[in-house]
Structures are given as C-alpha cells and as structure tokens.
Symmetry: C2
Subunit: 337 residues, 2 copies
C-alpha cells in the first residue's frame, strides 16, 4: 500500500497538483467538471492529505491545544469532552496539555511561542487564569485564546456565573432558617482558578443581603476532592460553635463533608445541611442539593468561539455566561432546634 500523494491524484486526474489542492479544499476557481473528476479520483485512490505537509506549507495546523489543570476531576472531563465533540465535528484535531505544576505551566503558557504556537492554531485553557506576565507572552504570539471557567479580561471567556450560583445555594440555606453557615472553599493555591473566590463572593453577598454575619472561622479550604472536603468538615465539626449548614464549592467536597458528618454521628440534613456545586452525575445518589452547571456545554461553546476566531473575521472580545440552576434534594433542611 504505497503512499498516495497529491501528485498521484493529479496524475490520474490529468491535472496539476495545484488544481487538486484547490478542488479538494473547495476553493474557488475550479470548474465544476474538474472538481468532480478530482474528487472522484481522490476517493478512488483513497487519498488523504498529509496533515503535516499541509501544516508546514499553510502555516496553520487545524489543531487546537487544550490546557487543563487535571483531567480526573468530573468538571474537567466534561469540559474536555464538550470541546472534543465540536472540534472533531469541524475537522480539527485536539491536543491535550495537562498542566500539573508550575514547571509544566511555564513550559505550556509562558514559553508558548515555541511550545504551542507551532503545534496549534489556538488554545483553550480550562480553569486556569494566566498571570499578567503570561498574558503578555500569549499576546506576543498572535495565537487566539479562549478561557473556560475564568473571565479573563481581553480574552474570549466562557464562564458560569459563579457569584449567582453560590448566592442561590446560600440563599437556599438561609431561607431554610440557617444562620450559622460554613464554607468549604478551594484555595487559590490548590486550584489556581477564579471560581473559588467568585463563589466565595456570592456566598458572602447572600449572607450580607440577609444581614447574617459570617464567622471567618467557619471557612475551611478543601482541594476540590472528596478527601479535602472530608477533612475540612472534620475541622468545622471540631469547633465549639459549629455551623448548622455548609456550602461546599464542589460536589466531591460536599460528599466528603457528608461523610465526615456521618462519622461524627451527625445526621444530614437533620443536624447538618450540605449543599454542593456541579451536580455531578452521581450527586443524586446521595441526595445532594447542589448548583447544577453544564460543564460539557461550557466546553462546546468554547470550541465554537475558537473556531469562529480561527475562521471568521476579527471581532471584539466575547464573554459568554451560561446559567446555573439550584437543584434541591435531600441534603438540606431547616436546622434542628
């Protein structure tokens, strides 16, 4: 099965390689008759252009890089699969960049000129806000960027309204009559995203709105994992004056928190209400009240924005926000006396 190149197609179709190239890519200035012939010859020979040659010649890769902090989180997986779906559909390749630590981060973002810019036409960054320095570097290599999960000024961003989401969760708790609320957050260090501070803001704003005071001691940081939530809740339970309800910034942390309660002999929601964030697929199995976000849709939108940037004409920076929705289940109730 010898390599079939564009040249062979040209030969068999009795035209030049230039014409084949044009015909196959749907460019103008090819007569319908010629185009048909070329297309059918190509099909017959089962010709596939070599993407590398095309990339080299055209200077475009038809590839977008996706940078994520950590795949194994539910949220990340959803986003990536949303991106993948539309990218594949539009004939783009997707190259994964796992940004595990500072080192890799530098390699991927800072040094992006050599790193990414020759491998991809653009990059979608999931839940990672670039530093100012990094932003400058990005700008230098005129690569299109789109952020998902963080509203990054001057860069196309697709986000959820974390403030509103957190507020809805918090209001729900308040409306049930809770006045001593706990917060299981994710520290910037653990998860260098903008979501934690935003959700924190929403949480505090709802309290403020209701005139309820927040005891700073009632905030613990998890690392967005079940274990992190578990330990955070244990710490809260150790307090002499414990909260009667907690808002965890992710479902996984919420589940860890519920576990801690159970081990401490507290019933949920009887003695402790818990609300999470995400609505992961299995959240219903523990009756978790949570804030639903459609992470896959976030990814899909980001991919669409990217393709528009790559193929459409220049346009202003865009920001799209997809709504969240509180879903009430059985992990929350009025506080017991």
């Amino acid at each position: 099965m010898a390599r079939v190149t564009i040249e062979k197609v040209a030969e068999r179709a009795g035209v030049s390689v230039a014409t084949v190239s044009r015909a196959l890519r749907g460019l103008p200035n090819v007569s319908p008759k010629t185009r048909d012939r070329v297309v059918s010859v190509a099909a017959m020979l089962n010709y596939r252009p070599d993407p590398n040659a095309a990339r080299l010649a055209a200077g475009r890769t038809r590839t977008v890089a996706v940078g994520v902090v950590a795949i194994p989180i539910w949220y990340t997986g959803q986003v990536v699969s949303g991106i993948e779906a539309v990218l594949t559909n539009r004939g783009y390749d997707l190259t994964l960049l796992l940004i595990a630590d500072e080192l890799v981060r530098t390699r991927a973002l800072g040094d992006v000129g050599g790193g990414v810019s020759k491998r991809a036409d653009g990059a979608i960054i999931v839940d990672l806000v670039p530093t100012v320095t990094e932003r400058l570097l990005l700008a230098e290599h005129r690569l299109p960027w789109v952020m998902v999960g963080a509203d990054c000024p001057t860069i196309d961003s697709v986000v959820i309204d974390n403030v509103a989401g957190a507020m809805s969760a918090t209001r729900h708790l308040l409306s049930l009559g809770h006045t001593r609320l706990g917060l299981i957050s994710g520290g910037p260090a653990a998860f260098p995203s903008s979501s934690p501070p935003e959700r924190r803001t929403g949480f505090l704003r709802a309290l403020d709105e209701a005139g309820v005071r927040f005891d700073p001691n009632h905030e613990r940081v998890g690392d967005f994992s079940a274990l992190g939530g578990y330990e955070a809740m244990q710490a809260l339970l150790d307090l002499r004056q414990r909260p009667t309800a907690v808002f965890a910034m992710s479902d996984e942390m919420a589940m860890g928190a519920m576990r801690a309660c159970e081990e401490a002999g507290l019933t949920v929601p009887g003695e402790m209400s818990v609300v999470g964030f995400d609505d992961v697929d299995w959240a219903f199995t523990v009756g978790l009240t949570t804030v639903r976000q459609d992470a896959a849709e976030l990814g899909a939108i980001a991919a669409r924005l990217m393709i528009e940037r790559l193929e459409g004409e220049a346009c202003d920076r865009r920001l799209v926000s997809v709504p969240t929705e509180l879903v009430e289940r059985s992990s929350t109730s009025a506080p017991s006396q």
Copy 2:
C-alpha cells in the same frame, strides 16, 4: 519577533544546518565543542524546531493518538491522565480521539490509514476491543497499537485481572454468608469493552467454586453510570425473591444501586450488601466496599509500552496485568435473618 529557524541558528553558530540538527537532537558525530556552541546559540535565540517541518521530513510525528470511549467516566479520565503524564515527560504530544459512536469509530479505527497514521506514530486505545476487520486494517498501516483495559490478542495490552477482581468481590460476599447474589453488569452494547464479560466470569466462577447457584434473573445491566445502576437495582428489588447482596461492575453503578435501596427503604448493608469496582476517589464517602484498580497506572504503563515500541527494537507482543485489591468498607455485611 521574526521566526527563528534552524538556518539562523546555523548561521550564528557558524556551522551548517545539518550540524545544528544533529547537535540539538543529541545525535553522534558532533564534537563536544561544536555541540556546546550550537546549544548555547539555540538557547540564546530561543529557537524551537517547528514540529510540523520535523514530522514531514522525518516521517515521524512524536505524537500518539489516544482513543477513548467517553472521557467523563472516572476510569477514562484516570487512564488518560496517566498516559499524558508519561508522554509529556518523554516529549511526545497526545492527540485525543473521542470514540462516541459507530460512525466515529469507523473513521478512527477502520479508516485509520488516512485518519490516524499520518497524525500519530502510534495509538493507545482505551477499553475498546477492535473487531477482526478493524484489526486487519490496523495491521495494514504498520502503526504500533496498545490496548488498555482489554487483552487483545497480538496487540500489546495492559489490563487488570478482571476475573480475579470480580472473584475477590464475590468471595467476600459469599464469605459473609450471602447465597442470593445479584449482579449489575454492563452490557457489551453499552460499553464495548471486554471488562464486563470478564467480571461476569469472575463472579460466576466464585459462585461456582462455592457451590452457590446463580439465578439468571438476578442479573441486570446498567450502563456504567449511577443512573444505570439505580434502575438496575430497582428492577432487582421488584423481584419476589430479591438478592441479599449485589456486585456492581462499577462504583458509579454501585452508588446508584445504594440509592435505589435507600429509596425502597432498605438499609445498606443491613438488608442489602453492595460492592462496587474501581474505588473512585469519593467511594469512601459512602463507605463503599469495592475492588480497587489503579487506572492512572494502567495509562502510564501503556504509554511506556508505546514509547518502547517506538524507540526500542522490535519485540514480541507484551501483556501486562496490574493487580487489583479488595477494599472493605461498610457497604457489606452478613445478611440479616
């Protein structure tokens, strides 16, 4: 910031491009002195070879394609992140191929000649067993393949011992005194992998070993999701003679199953024991007894095998099996009278 090409480096270092190429890639036949000079000039100019040009010239891509069925599953995310880690570490790119349906599957596997073989040097397929026809097609384009999660004859495979894993779970249930066991499996249709039948085999073998009879009516298929497990368990609970314990082929299904029990007013493990498979990060939050597998490690091993195939000398087909481990928590106990 003009493009810095290999030519510029050669110029500044006072050598030919050939020498630069050799020096930078650590090839022999370059004097240490020359190499040092080239390396430092390259660093100074911040030179990065264009991967596309390199691929075109060398005929190798330093990219491996990863085909997965569905990213959002815990298992898949783990595997991919394991792969990513070692690939990145060794200077390979990773391109993601989401194989969602038959259509894509054909495109990705069947048509692999044009599809993958020019984009990647090899492919790692996660949890998908290719049909015989597909295997022939793969063989045609001399691409190295490695399977993870399925022992595919003639192809390098890294797997866990599903039979043994399922047996350990089942024996555990039996040793507690259960004799009416239920099985929540994943149909081949829902999840075209070899794990479900293998786990089923292990389950049946353990029963057989113990001389316990299996009521075929006690098997329901989920789709490896929490919801699937939930519905499967509901069906089991509807039986006039229900099992007293069930083995679910994934933790997510197990959690759905536990939920169904709770809704039906059954206590776990009091009136129903449940054991899962995977040991997902949050399994401990519901006290799930389960069979732990290190999915990230599976991915890492697969990536290493792939790199060896690509860089090492030819060798026989390899099969590596990584052990599983039963972890006992609180979702299982002796049956109630």
